[in-house]
């Protein structure tokens, strides 16, 4: 395997953090009330990972004998823009595709939104799905969200618990509060924040053995963690690519020694390339060398 030109295979692992635990407990707390739940926060703060974590946990713990047990679905939604016709139906179809499979086109066209919702709820009951994580929900128009809320309401009418978790950034919060019917049904809000220095240190420790061996009481060690924290602002989605880069250079450029200089070298090599690329693109880089004036040549 080591002779392969391609990078080593990675098994994806999810590290449970405090934030994930907090969001999970908040979500499960309101579940029995068929909650509508926005999970909001800036990019790369771990919303999708938390959803995957919770989804896995729910499905792993499901046993058909336990009457309280339920299944969940996590999927990424595509764009349903405003004024794009039949947004409610498209919203319901999106849920149907995620939970059941492709919806027959004729059935979709023939049926009213409430019929589609009833059919979907029937299938959800059969599959015992009670929680749906709708990722990238910022792509949804208000009407598409209303269609999804219609499914939740239909489920409630048919004595079925259904929690819809809308995960997103963009204008998702503003969209959800813009309509009283949705705003007043939103039982709980979960906001994802960047990690603190301590949390970042704990996460780094779980991601890389070098950080696990550090002691924050030592100044040199603290410097390293502070450097990473300052550069990536406690955003877990940015930390993991850095650790991946560090891993790849640890035994080549750094010769197995990781210290503050090594960390800076790994980070700055990326940053330098990025800065160059940006300055070129801002200067109208076309791939050709510009004809320099005599003054410019003299300066050189």
């Amino acid at each position: 395997m080591s002779d392969s030109f391609f990078p080593e295979l990675e098994t994806s692992i999810i590290i449970e953090t405090d934030q994930m635990r907090r969001v999970t407990s908040k979500t499960m707390a309101v579940h029995r009330g068929s909650a509508l739940l926005p999970w909001v926060g800036r990019s790369r703060l771990g919303k999708t990972t938390t959803a995957r974590f919770l989804n896995n946990k729910i499905n792993e713990n499901f046993t058909s004998d336990d009457p309280r047990a339920f299944r969940s679905i996590h999927y990424e939604v595509g764009e349903i823009s405003s004024w794009s016709n039949s947004e409610q139906k498209r919203g319901i179809r999106s849920l149907f595709h995620a939970c059941i499979g492709r919806m027959d086109e004729g059935f979709y066209r023939r049926s009213l939104p409430e019929d589609l919702a009833r059919e979907l709820v029937y299938a959800l009951k059969k599959k015992r799905i009670q929680m749906i994580f709708i990722d990238e929900a910022g792509n949804l128009s208000i009407d598409a969200i209303r269609g999804m809320v219609l499914v939740r309401d239909t489920a409630e009418l048919e004595n079925w618990t259904l929690t819809l978790v809308f995960i997103g950034m963009d204008d998702l919060p503003a969209t959800m509060v813009s309509l009283p019917q949705i705003k007043n049904r939103t039982d709980e809000w979960c906001y994802f924040e960047p990690y603190s220095l301590q949390e970042t240190f704990e996460l780094l420790g779980k991601l890389h053995p070098h950080f696990a061996s550090l002691d924050l009481n030592k100044k040199e060690h603290l410097e390293q963690v502070e450097f990473v924290y300052e550069q990536f602002g406690g955003v877990p989605g940015l930390l993991t690519p850095f650790i991946r880069r560090l891993n790849s250079r640890q035994h080549t450029e750094l010769e197995g020694i990781i210290d503050i200089t090594g960390l800076m070298a790994v980070h700055l090599s990326t940053l330098r390339d990025k800065d160059k690329a940006l300055s070129d693109s801002e200067g109208g880089y076309t791939g050709k060398i510009k004809n320099k004036s005599l003054e410019e040549l003299l300066k050189i």
């Binding site: 499979g101 492709r102 059919e119 009951k125 599959k127």
Partner: protein, 678 residues
């Protein structure tokens, strides 16, 4: 002197009036008033019209005779008494005047010409103007264009003209085809013949003949200018020329006036002026002057009609492509030859039908909902090979193998996906071998070879994709067979109707079973009946050429009219079965660890309608650990015709899930039709 005479005259009238009886005096007074009003002598009718109701009743009471006779007798008496005189007589019609109003000696007024005279004058003027005998329509036109001032006065001239002709004042010069202008040409009996020009055409046929001659001269000149022989003229060209020259009103209003008249000019022995020519590709006659021989004309000239243009396009398409052509191929020719743009917006097939009737073209095959046209020997090896290739291509397209391949990864039931891929691989292998056999034949021609190689590449690509997929996705279960069953269970139209009848909400509107076939052929897959024996179709399996895919029909009906459970299972089956109809690739799904796969397998088995699945479903509905799966298995078991009552009896002993028990109760008393609505 005049004044003295008039005074004496008035005194005489006054004396005479005193001696008159009351009814006589009454008529005299009426006559006086009418004379005064009109300023001239009047007819008896005018006097009668001027009588009031009271005066009429007085006269009727006084005399037993009819009123007209009474008045006439009174007037005669008054004439004898010299109170009234006849101012003018015209063909037994007298104009009366009262002496007290109009002096018989002086006659100071001028008589207006009578209506009859006016009409005669009008006719005369029109004949002089047109320099030929005139028809009613000509007089009408003359009134409109030349004498609009007379139009009001001569409102009823038509009947007068007819009466004058009957009396012999007018004579009929000749007759022609009747149109809105009339068919008779009138001339005055005593008219000077010098006033009529012999050069001006008098009848429609003469006009047509003259126009044809003129147009032919133009045609000859044009041809000479371009060093060609003149082309014969079509009736449309002649018609357009007449309209340009004389206006459209000259053409009689009957249908096909110009073509019929041209034919008459070529046929009538008395006036044979034209010769008709029939061109093979033109359904109508072309005409040339009688004296022009075939050597002096160009017989194969430019197309005269849309139908001929389409024929030309077809010939060119056949030449260009070197194979039988479709409507699309023919239509494409317009891009190469814009001058062949059709004048009318009509389907090409209409014109092609005309050419087929003329035996210029043949419809040789109906493949993929398209007719193939050809002229020449359709039994030649290259044509046969081309049609074979198109049939293979059509069957390949119907499979939609690329879509099926792309859909494999969406299929949640791995065993079914494996079977589907195997089916695609085997089917494409068959297609490849068929194409190889076709290409081996050396007499098929280059066109077939080229098209066959394109199709071969396409099929080969799918075959390779399928092979790669099978390599990447190893057999999901060791119980799967090596080969996939290709037979498709089918339904005849009547069997399909029997299935749909209880579900189809618009059954009242369906009058024939064939209607169902038309309505549903787009919705439900049809395939060629492998058991078909050519004979008269009586609805039995052997005589039906096409069958409906049974599974597709069940899925369609369930999606369209089914209840929630039925519809859900139909959607799951539809999404996962694709073209697969082999139960052996679905059954292993029942023992999958994934509840979702088990649900899909159940749905697929329900719609494959194979009785072999009854026992596995029976076991699953009792033993599966997921309630939802047990529910689905129960419905599928019942839908397949299993003994649901027996199953439920057993289920009640073991089942603890209240939902499943409720569901089982719903199924317990359902008949087969009610199962659709669960």
């Amino acid at each position: 002197m005049k004044t003295n005479n008039h005074t004496q005259h008035n005194q005489h009238v006054a004396l005479a009036l005193n001696e008159l009886l009351f009814p006589h005096r009454l008529v005299f007074q009426v006559l006086e008033s009418v004379n005064e009003k009109s300023g001239q002598a009047v007819l008896l009718g005018e006097i009668l019209a001027a009588l009031t109701k009271d005066q009429t009743s007085v006269l009727n009471r006084s005399y037993e005779n009819p009123l007209i006779n009474t008045v006439r007798q009174i007037i005669t008496a008054l004439i004898k008494r010299k109170l009234v005189f006849i101012a003018r007589s015209e063909r037994h019609r007298h104009y009366y005047a009262a002496v007290s109003i109009i002096n018989p000696n002086e006659m100071p007024f001028v008589f207006k010409p009578s209506y009859r005279q006016m009409v005669i004058g009008l006719l005369k003027d029109a004949i002089i103007y047109y320099k030929r005998p005139v028809r009613i329509g000509d007089i009408d036109r003359y009134l409109d264009d030349i004498r609009p001032d007379l139009k009001g006065d001569c409102k009823w001239f038509r009947s007068t003209v007819k009466r004058l002709a009957a009396e012999g004042v007018l004579k009929i010069s000749h007759r022609t085809r009747k149109d809105k202008g009339g068919g008779l040409f009138y001339i005055l009996q005593d008219m000077d013949s010098n006033l009529i020009s012999s050069e001006i055409p008098q009848s429609w046929l003469e006009t047509l003949q003259l126009a044809f001659r003129d147009l032919w001269e133009i045609q000859v000149k044009k041809a000479k200018a371009s060093n060609k022989l003149p082309e014969p003229l079509s009736s449309i060209e002649v018609k357009n020329y007449i309209i340009d020259r004389y206006g459209s009103e000259i053409i009689p209003h009957e249908r096909q006036a110009v073509p019929n008249s041209l034919r008459a000019l070529a046929r009538l022995s008395s006036i044979t002026a034209l010769r008709k020519i029939l061109r093979p590709s033109y359904s109508k006659y072309l005409y040339v002057p009688i004296e022009v021989t075939d050597d002096e004309i160009e017989l194969n000239g430019s197309p005269k009609s849309d139908s001929e243009k389409v024929y030309l396009m077809t010939r060119m398409a056949l030449e260009r492509l070197g194979r039988p052509v479709t409507l699309v191929d023919i239509a494409e020719e317009i891009n190469f030859h814009p001058e062949l743009q059709l004048a009318r917006r009509q389907s090409l097939s209409v014109f092609l039908t005309t050419q087929i009737k003329l035996n210029n073209l043949k419809k040789i095959a109906w493949i993929n909902s398209e007719w193939y046209y050809f002229c020449g020997n359709e039994k030649s090896a290259s044509v046969k090979a081309y049609l074979k290739l198109k049939t293979i291509e059509g069957e390949w397209q119907k499979l939609d193998a690329l879509l099926e391949m792309n859909d494999l990864d969406n299929s949640s039931l791995k065993t079914a996906a494996y079977g589907r891929c195997l089916l695609i691989k085997n089917t494409s292998e068959n297609f490849l071998s068929n194409l190889r056999v076709l290409s081996k034949n050396k007499s098929v021609g280059s066109v077939v070879n080229t098209e066959a190689s394109v199709l071969y590449k396409e099929v080969k690509e799918i075959y390779e994709q399928a092979e790669l997929w099978l390599k990447d996705n190893p057999k999901p279960s060791c119980s799967l067979p090596e080969q996939v069953e290709k037979n498709i269970p089918g339904l005849t139209v009547s069997e399909l109707w029997k299935l749909l009848q209880p579900l189809y909400p618009e059954q009242q509107q369906v009058k024939t079973i064939a209607e169902i076939s038309n309505v549903l052929s787009d919705e439900i897959r049809r395939f060629k009946n492998p058991y078909h024996k050519p004979s008269r179709c009586d609805g039995t399996l052997e005589t039906v050429l096409y069958l409906f895919d049974r599974t597709d029909a069940f899925i369609y009906a369930a999606r369209t009219w089914g209840g929630r459970e039925c519809c859900l299972q139909a959607m799951l089956a539809g999404n996962n079965l694709g073209l697969l109809r082999d139960i052996n690739f679905v059954l292993p799904g029942l023992s999958s660890h994934d509840y979702n796969e088990r649900l899909i397998a159940i749905a697929c088995l329900a719609f494959l309608q194979d009785k072999e699945a009854i026992d596995p479903l029976y076991n699953l509905s009792l033993k599966d650990n997921d309630g939802g799966v047990r529910e689905s298995a129960l419905w599928a078991f019942a839908f397949l015709g299993g003994n649901i009552k027996q199953l439920i009896t057993k289920l009640k002993m073991t089942e603890t899930n209240a939902h499943v028990l409720d569901f089982a109760k719903r199924l317990e008393n359902c008949d087969p039709v009610e199962l659709w609505f669960i």
